[in-house]
Symmetry: C2
Subunit: 206 residues, 2 copies
């Protein structure tokens, strides 16, 4: 049995949707991030990084969204969430998810999590001012180079799609209007028609 | 035939070593990063992100170190660079590489690439002051939680190892003494005994 630790407003949403897409049997526990539960001794024993998501399996604990997404695709091959038997196509999926993780998520994080990288209030304000520009640059690349449509990788829905949905859902808070990116906006609308996404939105936005 | 674009001092070193580890046939072209060749029209047509590494294959172009590393492991299974037939073990490899990419590399990047995230000189100085603390936190996690020894995943060398080597090689420039992390330091010494690493060090440090 899988156990998934998640937090509202976080990138755990991507893996959470993928767990539903995959039809896997799992339980989920929400961490109280405002109460700093992610840094409690109990949770640090599970994930010493003090972050979500974390996926507890019978073999051990996995962290990092791109790794969890690929794992879900691999253990539920019948759900066809990634091109598992085509190394090049799988690498394209991974490259997309790595870009979301290391560039788009990091750009977003400089709005609320600037203290990870600087100390002075003036620096944090400076970072926050630059967030919309960096978030826009990410969506610009997705819109014009990466998103094939209707799904990220083209005709087939993959583990890239809930991850793009997750960061696109942050855009408004980052003062970026997703409507400026028509393909991203259409992706965002379309994916919300899927039952797993509706279920998770009800959970994350309750 | 594969063609690999790389740059001195960059994370392309990790994939470059893995290409050698895998015994793959490839050509390599060094970009003149000081001359901003990564943002030339010719290169942006190859990688619109304006970054290295990029790997040109007969199917298309791949970017992002974690994706390229997994791709190399998958197309050269005889080199045994990742546990390709064990989704959990493969996910552990991917989780390590994702952490290096999105946390350790990002921590390092705030020293020289702070202008990605802020504008004022005072903010860039503030970021630079915090880099050693963040880089140390990354190696602390690797030392105490992630690095099994002698290789990252234990007895078997994987695509995690050249990536750890690459970021560990940056530590001194980030004012972090790798000797403070005995397992990381021993890993750094041991991996340099490997012929592919020696070959790449000669290329990157010539």
């Amino acid at each position: 049995m899988l156990k998934f630790y998640y937090g509202l407003g976080t990138c755990s949403l991507a893996s959470h949707i993928a767990l539903e897409d995959a039809g896997l049997d799992y339980t989920a526990e929400r961490l109280d991030l405002k109460g700093n539960q992610q840094n409690s001794p109990d949770y640090l024993a599970i994930n010493p990084k003090g972050r979500v998501p974390a996926l507890v399996t019978d073999r051990g604990i996995l962290t990092e969204t791109p790794a969890i997404l690929a794992f879900i695709a691999q253990i539920a091959p019948q759900a066809d969430l990634a091109p598992l038997n085509d190394p090049f196509a799988f690498a394209e999926v991974q490259a997309f998810n790595s870009y979301v993780c290391s560039s788009m998520h990091v750009a977003h994080a400089h709005r609320m999590r600037g203290r990870r990288w600087a100390t002075e209030e003036s620096s944090l304000e400076d970072m926050r001012r630059k967030v919309p520009e960096n978030v826009r640059a990410g969506f610009d690349l997705v819109e014009n180079k990466l998103l094939r449509g209707p799904w990220v990788m083209g005709e087939t829905y993959t583990i890239c799609d809930p991850y793009l949905f997750t960061v696109a859902d942050w855009a408004k808070g980052d003062s970026v209007d997703i409507a400026d990116f028509p393909k991203v906006a259409e992706h965002h609308r379309r994916i919300q028609e899927r039952a797993p996404v509706q279920k998770m939105l009800a959970l994350y936005k309750a």
